[in-house]
Amino acid sequence: MQRFSALSLFRQGLSGHRGWRAQWRSPEPKAAYDALIIGAGGHGLGTAYYLAREHGMRNIAVLDRGWLGGGNTGRNTTIIRSNYLFDESAALYDHAVKLWEGLSQTLNYNVMFSPRGVLMLAHTVHDVQVFQRHIHANRLNGVDNEWLSAEEAKAYCPPIEIGRHLRYPVIGAALQRRGGTARHDAVAWGFARAADAMGVDIIENCAVTAIHRDAAGAVTGVETTRGTIRAPKVGVVAAGHTSVVMAMAGLRMPLESYPLQALVSEPVKPVFPCVVMSNTIHAYISQSDKGELVIGAGTDAYTSYSQRGGLHISSHTLEAICELFPMFRRMRMLRNWGGIVDVTPDRSPIIAKTSVPGLYVNSGWGTGGFKATPGSAHVFAWTMAKDEPHRINAPFTIERFRDGLLIDEAAAAAVAH
């Protein structure tokens, strides 16, 4: 792997950058591998990286039906935080945040992890109760999350309006300082480059169309638009299309797929220092390093595989943004897009072995899996390599829905009474 550094950039600059080589190869698929990963998003590429680096599995391939990072990884609003309520979630997401903190150096790729702080606004007495519960639980779990008064929240993020005149006044906020954002493409590219350097084949434009199994039901390989590929282990990391891929092995997943939208404004000079989330009025906003306001909208009410959400959904989000930040009313939407997210009944992911020997699945990240990318990939690689879950992902089984051992983060955010 060609090392990246200020010095290499300078040297290349002197020679017109003619010496840079491809960051990853574009290999033809081999007939067989030791393991296959379906889906070259951040989670899939990261899984390959950790399989190669930590488990010595280098004869492996990542398959994607399109271009790597072109799924939700390249479409998300990149909010990273770990202040989840339940112990299981806090352990998983905080594992990821710890990896984020050194990821640029580990990968020798600037993924621009920017711990600028995630501020979650409380607008009602009920919000305060819920946030306090999170803050206490987080503290005992060793996860940073602190309560700010409305004035402190405004000092941290000056564009916030805190007057009582608002329809939903800000009465306080929970702040996770270690939370923030990262550059989504760089995460996919950094993992791809580092995995490729260890011999992992990343095969784009290669859709999996069937999963082959032997008489005993165990996985033997996959059928793809680029031919048959054999492998004793297959990990499915296909986000919004997980149900479709898992059905190829005869498994029905407890997932529903919905369009989720995001949008950016035209770029402006820095005005917005951190990430702000308001669950009560459905607004999520940060400012990218390029200067665009990055705004997340909600999911559509109906399931769909079209990567396009309803206009009323993004409009509703902008209503909320304009209400919270009335000076942004004259800012303009530059680009709006959608992705397909896979949602579980308890809004927590599934990172697990399946009832089919050799078949593993990492899915159900719904609207919030980017933040988990390195952590999820790390424990999923462990699970695939050792054929047993890592301590951290052990609770995130499929069977929990059958057994009722839910990790219900959505419920934890509760409802207004």
Binding site: F4, S5, A6, L9, G16, H17, W20, R21, Q23, W67, G74, A90, Q105, N110, M112, Q129, V130, Q132, R133, H136, R139, L140, G142, R167, Y168, G180, R183, G190, E266, P267, V268, K269, P270, D289, K290, G291, R308, L311, S315, L318, E319, A320, C322, E323, M327, F328, R329, R330, M331, M333, L334, N336, G404, L405, L406, D408, A412, A414, V415, H417
Partner: protein, 1005 residues
Amino acid sequence: MSEAFRTRDGGRIDRTRPRSFRFDGVGYQGLAGDTLASALLANGVHLVGRSFKYHRPRGVVAAGSDEPNALVGVWRDEASYAPNLRATQVELYEGLRAESQNRSPSLRFDRGAMAGLLAPFLPAGFYYKTFLWPRRAWARFWEPRIRAMAGLGRAPTLPDRDRYAQTYAHCDVLVVGGGPAGIAAALAAAAGHARVILCDEQAELGGSLLAETEATIDGMAAQAWLAEALARLAREPRVRVLPRTTGFGYFAHNFVGLAERLTDHLAEPDPQAPRERLWQVRAREVVLATGALERPLVFPENDRPGIMLADAARTYLRRYGVKPGSRAVVATAHDGAYRAALDLHRAGVAVAAVADLRPDPEGPLVEAARAAGIAIRPATAIAGTKGRLRVRSARLVRIGAEGEAGGGASAGETVGCDLLLMSGGFTPSVHLFSQSRGQLAFDPVSAAFLPARPAERCRSAGACRGTFGLAAALIEGYAAGEAASAAAGRGGAPGLGFAVTGAIDTRGGTLGATPHGRDAARVKAFVDFQNDVTAKDVKLAVREGFRSIEHIKRYTTTGMATDQGKSSNMNALAIAAVALGRPLPEVGLTTFRMPYTPVSFGAFAGFARGELFDPLRRTPIDPWAEAAGAVFEEVGQWRRARYFPREGEDMHQAVGREVRAVRQGVGIFDGSTLGKIEVVGPDAAEFLNRMYVNAWSKLAPGRCRYGVMLREDGFVMDDGVVGRMAPDRFHVTTTTGGAARVLATMEDYLQTEWADLDVWLTSTSEQWAVIALQGPRAREVLAPLVAGADIGREAFPHMSVRACRVAGVEARLFRVSFSGELGFEVNVPADYGRAVWEAILRAGRGFGITPYGTETMHVLRAEKGYIIVGQETDGTATPDDVGLSGLIGRTKKDFVGARSLRRAAMAAPDRKQLVGLLTEDPREVLQEGAQIVANPQTPAPVPMLGHVTSAYHSPTLERSIALAMVRGGRARIGEVLFVPMPGRVVKVSLCDPVFFDREGVRLDG
């Protein structure tokens, strides 16, 4: 200043109406009908902005919404500051103020231009390769600096006062684009009596006709024909013409979003009038007539002020009467640029040379140029330009037979100029077609992607379909309008022929970088002007292994600027295709996304602001509470009185007084926000049996019962009292926040799962005002007001309901209690709510009746261990967890959630269960949300046993109390546990959750 570059006559500006304006603090004059760009050019101002990355000086390139460079901030006052507006779209009004962006201290001397010196070390994606060490330096040091350099304009700092409107419309035929094709389409559809909407993003409709001065249509000068056609459309009652209206988004089922700008062009807009209006149009048929955009040529240093698109120059001259320079060089691969050269020449601008990339340009326009004495250089490219703040010269080099350019930095001929026009041909605007998911196909003849297979009921016509000639566009537009009208079920008017003279068809074009004979790794030939992406950046991306066009776009940021690649995408694609060694159509386009051009957030938000953002719901008794000095809280969408402080009381004191009043005398409470659903029909009881855990069949009319409803996963979703008014009629109540959700869930089951049940659901939440009367003396107060029912102790026991009259008003009277005291809930039609409330207050005066709010209600119910769904439960609690398993109908086979309750984990002994907590110090009120642990000394992660759900000071017990959900809690009653707080630990003992009157004797008072 004088308008030195204004022509003597011609154009569509109004020479009798001068307009003064300021740009970067300097005063200028323009004319009504100018854009800011044309007015600046009339004053000889080309330098208008700085580029994103290298802060290079930039001028006006285009004349429309495709402008990448001339972005300005415009304001009347700070609250109306709008950044990043294209000067080519800003209409001039008297007193307009605008400023350039992304420069400091000034446009001419910009510190940021230092970045240009470092450019050799800042290629595409440089930031992924560096800033890696030391570990924290990125976030602490580099990122803030990069952020400060990036961004274009500045965001407004004050709230926008302007209003934004929204409207919905249906039509038979929506025509997007008001050039010749679009106008012809609208004429045809109008002739077929279709309901038509025709919109165009510009201030005037007409598109290319607005700069057309030679052609005639049907014997009329083109612009006279235009005027007549528009007048005809204006007379049609079924036709709506919307200027300044951009079709920005094309969604499923012919749903199209239009953004109309209403006041930005006015000197003194009416403050009451909306600034913009968002149209959401559902059209039977759509005709796209969105035209085509000229492509820049990608040659070295093609970005200096004074270098502009040939057709834009012609537009400035013909439409605005502005000469964009005094001495021009024209670089082209398309015939159209000759028309620009001829126009300039006739207007007195010296045309030094036309450099045509093609070896043997020919055709009538080429001949005309030659005849006019314009020097034409075939097979000639631009190898570079000079000039810091304005182009000063261009270097012309010959292209050899192999397509290579004469080498060396000094080869070729240097031609002095202050204007360099370029034309790489035209790219059809297929944005909306593609947004609608229509499929494009590459047409090798025109070297363009054209609409192939539509996904919606839509037709493309004119230049956006690759049909460029004026006559052909008119005919095609008319045919499309006619077909659309017929397809929409209206008439199709017989096709009109259009007799066109004087319009010369043009051809030609090139894609990608042009030859220049210099070191390709060093020259800056810009592809995307605004984002400073050069041809070598695109090649670098390919060299680094980015093979998908989406990757190339993301790595280089080409096409991601505020123009979304309108002028750059095809050139970038062509350069990438060459570098990849693959045919261009195989490489393919990136996805077109809405909006076509940027749309204000305000337009999307529309009327939804302040009160209208989410209208606050108020009960009929709310005005009384306000007058009584209540402190309110917001619960869901409602505002509710929280407590009624008397002079000098704080919340604690007020709540203490209110609680004591209820326990000792009588209190009155506004419960109108409760959700109410009338469930009626022969199968109503069966329906409720399935929806609730409780059994309803045996509930006698006149009785009521506390019901609990689960989600499919077995967890408590909502609760409320249900009264049976008649065998086939139930009065269902829900929590305040759950009303809509419960109704939607019920409807969902009724319509999708149990369509066989004969049941109707009606939301009656707002029909009934609910007045709760609680306390040992409640009956004494109420009895004299009740007619038509005996509410005596035996006749009307706890959990009864009667239809009767209260204070002369038809009522449904419940005997229920959420306080643990004798209690009634009076339901009367909402309009009578306040009158009845006041009547009861009067009746209660002698009993010391005390109004109380939600805070007191909470304390009263907590003293009794009654749960609040959403506070004690959080979506992970089963009925048993909160001590309600007794409600489950034993004989019922099934209900929603029943199967889930049978799962092993639902019966696990260590589930969190509802308990009471008492602190050691009776004054210590726990914090709601605080966690409970067995051993506070454990290091993180500390195993947590549960959390505090409710905590209050109890005036009745004169000490603090709390409810909590604790693992295996019921078995731990009596144990001591700990609540760790920052810096200290609170000791608590677990107790039964019912703190007061455990036997419930007071209910029977």
